[in-house]
């Protein structure tokens, strides 16, 4: 592993050489946040260069109202709710899925949306609802699950969609003018699906630079170098560091199946408010699988928990330790805000991977 060490040192030297004055780069994606903490990248960067976490944690941006809608569904006797593990402990207004499960509700953790097909086939007398949270990375697999259920005439599988799209959130964040960032490390996995073009507004409309970046520590160091080089040369472009996985045009097949099954809708993001065309809902021809419609569960707009700074943390306006609840009333074991729950949430990462001051 000495090899990795030497390459890292070379990149860090280059970063030290290029840094000029104070700079703030946002890593949009939670997977980046975790990798940065785990590998100790922050400890290698010069003081003037600040990395801040963005809104790219799907569980974190899911608003209270949507958690409560899922909880309401589990109280229907005929319903089995399938969810990804991270969502279990996200607090709703007065309960969480994990608390509801302790009361005996039928809630199961799955790791792949395709598991839903097997479960639905095996439990014909139950109504199986897949609570789908995620970005462009997971949406193609969820779309494939929906199509497959239709093809195999599985009639007891429904989708409760809380899916989100990344580019509209970045646009809203930058438009607000509050984020105060000099450049963006753009998410690798999302970009595998959507490619480079959807980010072009970042350079065009905001004169900011962005680099699509992989998740290994060396990828991230190189991504930072590329941003610094653009800065030094006075460029504002979208570049691709993660060329081994991301093609400029993205994954056409995946985009096609998403397009076939879902359509963009206005959606609320925790911290960012309502953003046009930033959510995904089932198209009309799949409406009979839309749990929100079939079970007639209206979505209530609810306030975030008082005192919780997740909203500001997600916009890069606050660092987790700035929140009065951080590490005191809000811990990964007993979280108040979702940023502390998810393994990709920045509060959770700050708490788990403490940095020696």
């Amino acid at each position: 592993m000495a090899h990795e060490d030497v390459l890292a040192q070379t990149l860090v030297k280059e970063i030290l050489r290029l840094v000029d004055g104070k700079l703030r780069f946002m890593e949009v994606c939670g997977t980046h946040t975790v990798s940065i903490f785990r590998s100790g990248i922050r400890s290698l960067l010069p003081k003037g260069l600040e990395l801040i976490s963005g809104p790219g944690c799907p569980v974190c941006v899911t608003p209270v109202g949507e958690i409560d809608r899922a909880i309401a569904l589990t109280r229907l006797k005929e319903v089995t709710l399938l969810t990804f593990g991270d969502l279990m402990r996200v607090p709703g207004a007065s309960s969480s899925l994990s608390y509801e499960r302790a009361l005996g509700r039928d809630i199961r953790v799955i790791t792949s949306p395709l598991d839903a097909l097997k479960i639905a086939v095996g439990a014909q007398n139950r109504k199986i609802v897949l609570f789908a949270v995620g970005f462009e990375t997971t949406s193609p697999a969820i779309a494939a699950t929906v199509k497959e259920a239709r093809r195999r005439e599985i009639h007891n599988l429904y989708l409760l969609s809380s899916q989100r799209l990344i580019p509209p959130a970045i646009k809203t964040l930058l438009s607000s003018g509050k984020a105060n960032v000099d450049g963006l490390l753009l998410p690798g996995h999302v970009s595998v699906i959507i490619g480079k073009a959807p980010y072009s507004f970042i350079a065009r409309d905001f004169s900011l630079m962005g680099v699509i970046t992989g998740f290994e520590p060396l990828d991230i160091l190189e991504g930072i170098c590329m941003l610094l080089r653009q800065k030094a040369q006075g460029r504002s472009e979208i570049e691709n560091q993660y060329r081994r996985a991301v093609k400029d045009q993205g994954n056409r097949l995946a985009l096609q199946i998403m397009e076939e099954v879902f359509q963009p809708v206005i959606a609320r993001w925790r911290g960012l408010g309502k953003i046009p065309d930033s959510g995904l809902t089932l198209r009309e021809e799949f409406e009979d699988m839309d749990a929100a419609k079939v079970f007639d569960l209206p979505l209530e707009d609810k306030e975030d928990p008082p005192g919780c700074c997740c909203g500001e943390v997600l916009q890069g306006l606050k660092s987790p330790p700035d929140c009065p609840l951080f590490g005191k009333r809000c811990t990964p074991d007993d979280p108040i805000g979702p940023c502390m729950v998810s393994s990709e949430g920045s509060c959770g990462a700050f708490y788990t991977y403490g940095v020696l001051q």
């Binding site: 060490d5 290698l44 060396l218 074991d333 940095v355």
Partner: protein
């Protein structure tokens, strides 16, 4: 969130488990021996010091590559005794069976209890059986308790780490948790990872022959290596520095971790031990460990320092550093 119900997380070994012990159990049951909260209770008698421990096993699935609930229930208890340096004298096994459980499976479990006990050189000296209604338990739960004798002069405790001590582990981490995880078949992943489940009393006795003054021994089970190191740094109020480079993780285990977002430092092991030994005895202990079948891959992973008492500093592979904190809030499947 409301605290009026027991959640799965109360059993995960993190802060909620800790709270349950501190706020619910200890206020009623506290005494000098229990309060030390070590893996084994050390009961002083006129003629000898007895080590006593108990543990329940609810692993799912019951059978996994490298072991089953029977083997696990013997090794877990023997290892808790061994981590105090005690020689196990005898263990008890208590079965809670669900109505309808296949007799053949029970025979299989009992036969691996027999084998593991033979391997550890310990007798099963007491037992109990209860059967509950269908649905009241998932197949089979086992509780084992064990009694051991702590040899004269041996004083191994979490609070005895001293600056200068060398930190040694007897092999790669994470095999048990990932092996069991894959055996559950929930991740559509296939692998050849085998649980490291093994009785460690033999290697511990060999280590004690090489160095009678081992300061700390811990088996990094639930919560993994990171949690155990943090507990020791805290109990001893010393700093610990670990080199990420030196901690071995099998490639397959690392691959699964990358895929699922796990950190190998928090994965459970059932046949690993971490030893804190005085610097000038480290070489001898390491050689002894490497001569044992359960210690062939033993390595020095770090050292104890004066700085930053109560903290564990990890030097990362790319030359950065970060603190290792105890496991908190993860939803872990039943692995022990």
């Amino acid at each position: 969130m409301k605290q009026d119900r027991i959640l799965l997380a109360h059993g995960a070994g993190g802060k909620l488990t800790h709270d349950l012990v501190e706020k619910l159990f200890l206020p009623s049951l506290d005494n000098e021996i229990l309060a030390s909260l070590d893996d084994s209770a050390i009961i002083p008698t006129e003629r000898a010091r007895l080590a006593f421990t108990t543990d329940s096993y609810v692993v799912k699935p019951l059978f996994f590559p490298g072991g089953d609930i029977g083997r696990l229930s013997v090794c877990g208890t023997v290892n808790d005794l061994a981590m105090s340096g005690a020689r196990p004298l005898g263990i008890s096994t208590s079965f809670i069976l669900e109505e309808g459980f296949p007799t053949q499976d029970l025979e299989r479990v009992v036969s691996s209890i027999k084998e593991a006990a033979l391997e550890a050189g310990v007798m099963v000296v007491a037992g109990d059986t209860k059967v509950v209604e269908h649905g009241a338990a998932e197949g089979l739960f086992i509780t084992t308790s064990g009694v051991g004798l702590v040899p004269d002069g041996v004083d191994i405790r979490g609070s005895r780490a001293r600056p200068g001590d060398i930190v040694i582990i007897n092999g790669p981490i994470g095999d048990h948790e990932i092996g069991v995880l894959l055996a559950r078949g929930e991740f559509s992943l296939k692998g050849t990872i085998v649980s490291d489940c093994a009785p460690l009393n033999g290697i511990v006795q060999a280590m004690l022959t090489a160095c009678g003054d081992i300061h700390v021994l811990r088996d990094p089970t639930r919560g993994g290596l990171a949690t155990v190191l943090w507990e020791i740094a805290n109990a001893s109020q010393v700093g610990v520095i670990i080199d990420e480079d030196k901690v071995t993780v099998r490639q397959e285990v690392r691959g699964v971790c990358d895929l699922l977002g796990f950190d190998p430092l928090y994965l459970a092991n059932e046949g690993k031990l971490v030893a804190f030994v005085p610097q000038d005895e480290a070489r001898g202990v390491l050689e002894t460990m490497r001569a044992d079948p359960l210690g062939r891959e033993s390595v020095v992973i770090g050292r104890v320092v004066d700085d930053n008492p109560g903290k564990v500093l990890l030097r990362t592979k790319i030359g950065g550093h970060r603190l290792l904190e105890p496991l908190s809030g993860e939803q872990i499947p039943r692995i022990c």
